[in-house]
């Protein structure tokens, strides 16, 4: 992608984000039971989705790296994983902010929450592994392998967390909220905006990673 296309992506993301904010705060009608608190969902849900996709992106890039050995895939994997950790941190924070007034607790051991927490822990581990792995080639391989294990593990975590819940009484159930049309539109706008924003962040981070390895290469040559 050229720089002008990146610029277009950035402006598009800005426009979509403003639209999504308008949708979340003004356009969507107020939820009757939860009131204004529910509006955090227009940020929380898109972030959760995009965060999850980012980890999928890191896993796919990891597979591609192992297949091709091209450094660009490794750069893509680390960019996706870093943004994924950022987004999923925000997911957990926004989720807690919502849960406190609605459920009366910052945190519960609902299977979805457990899965997201473990997902977050696995990819924080991924970043630690990268930091500790030593030389470049080894780092790229180890990181790719761990990204694959981590992502394949997610359905298993969800399954086992659900299994455990089935044994003890479920205190909180996430009853499905019938979405009014205005709410559905606000949610959709949020999804589009955060996906585009992910694209912008990813492109910037990806370029930074490539530049960093270029600098390291030049420094090696100069020695």
């Amino acid at each position: 992608m050229t720089r002008s296309a990146d610029g277009l992506l950035a402006w598009g993301s800005l426009a979509a984000m403003l639209l999504a904010l308008y949708g979340a705060f003004l356009y969507a009608q107020t939820e009757q039971v939860m009131g204004d608190i529910q509006r955090i969902f227009y940020v929380h849900l898109p972030l959760a989705w995009v965060g999850f996709l980012a980890f999928g992106h890191a896993c796919a890039a990891g597979i591609q790296y192992l297949r091709t050995g091209s450094r660009r895939w490794d750069a893509a994997a680390v960019s996706a994983a870093e943004i994924g950790v950022l987004f999923s941190t925000l997911v957990i924070i926004t989720g807690s902010l919502w849960a406190r007034p609605v459920w009366g607790a910052w945190w519960t051991w609902d299977p979805q929450l457990v899965t997201y927490l473990i997902l977050w822990l696995i990819y924080v581990g991924y970043l630690m592994l990268r930091a500790a792995a030593g030389d470049d080639l080894r780092r790229a391989r180890f990181a790719a392998v761990f990204a694959i294990i981590g992502f394949i593990d997610i359905p298993l975590v969800w399954l086992s967390a659900r299994y455990l819940r089935a044994l003890s009484p479920v205190i909180f159930t996430r009853h499905s909220i019938g979405l009014a049309p205005s709410m559905a539109w606000a949610l959709l706008a949020g999804l589009v905006a955060w996906s585009l924003f992910y694209g912008v962040l990813f492109r910037e981070r990806f370029r930074l990673e490539l530049l960093e390895s270029r600098v390291a290469q030049l420094a090696d040559e100069a020695d």
């Binding site: 192992l66 696995i122 581990g125 630690m128 500790a132 391989r141 975590v157 086992s160 455990l164």
Partner: protein
């Protein structure tokens, strides 16, 4: 098959001669149980309820230490590099290391269960045979991923510290399912309940083993 046996035998014979790994693992596990026992001063009823959790917390952390040590051993005098030079496929190398590690973890589990029965409640000892399937199947999945990640972390800067950070969240499904099986087994609950968790556990074990055999190929070279 003979190659596999030789690979496993190599690690076991080292252990028989030095007795480092199992002695230190057992001592750490015993200490953990003593501390937990002092902290809770559990009544027999509470001990039965807490058994699956206490057993797995002790086994998981101690086994992680042991796995890290077991792989650090491969780094000494480039032992692992020597193994890579032998005409043995990478997945067989993985299975060999996995087999030896599995023996260590199973022995550790035995020690932990006996110590638990002595320190907490003999009730658990009476149902000991029922505890074998969930614990053993749990050990298989735990060790499969542990062997792969242990190979990787042994050459990184953080080593022993990094292994639990990577391993414990990933093997959480195995621990949860095994604990569910233990719960049902200790309660003397319905067979169906035990079977259901064991089936799921076996399925997760297979996934982990396949993942290990497939991905080991990519980390082996860099781990030498």
């Amino acid at each position: 098959m003979r190659v596999l046996a030789a690979l496993i035998w190599k690690d076991l014979i080292i252990e028989v001669r030095t007795r480092e790994l199992l002695t230190s693992m057992s001592l750490v596990a015993f200490l953990a149980l003593v501390i937990l026992s002092l902290a809770f001063e559990p009544s027999p009823a509470m001990a039965v309820n807490a058994a699956p959790g206490v057993l797995w917390v002790t086994v998981a952390f101690t086994a992680t230490l042991g796995l890290a040590r077991s792989h650090a051993l491969e780094q000494e005098r480039q032992a692992f590099q020597g193994l890579l030079l032998t005409p043995v496929s990478r997945s067989l190398l993985f299975l060999g290391k996995f087999g030896a590690n599995l023996v260590f973890v199973l022995v550790l589990q035995l020690v932990v269960v006996v110590a638990f029965a002595a320190l907490f409640t003999p009730e658990v000892g009476r149902r000991a045979l029922w505890l074998v399937p969930p614990l053993a199947l749990g050990a298989v999945g735990f060790t499969a991923i542990g062997t792969l990640l242990g190979t990787m972390t042994a050459t990184t800067r953080l080593r022993e510290v990094l292994l639990p950070i990577l391993l414990l969240p990933v093997v959480l499904p195995v621990i949860i399912l095994s604990m569910a099986g233990l719960n049902a087994a200790i309660d003397g609950g319905a067979m169906g309940e035990i079977q259901r968790s064991l089936k799921l556990l076996a399925a997760v074990d297979i996934i982990y083993l396949v993942l290990g055999m497939w991905l080991f190929e990519y980390v082996a070279e860099d781990a030498a």
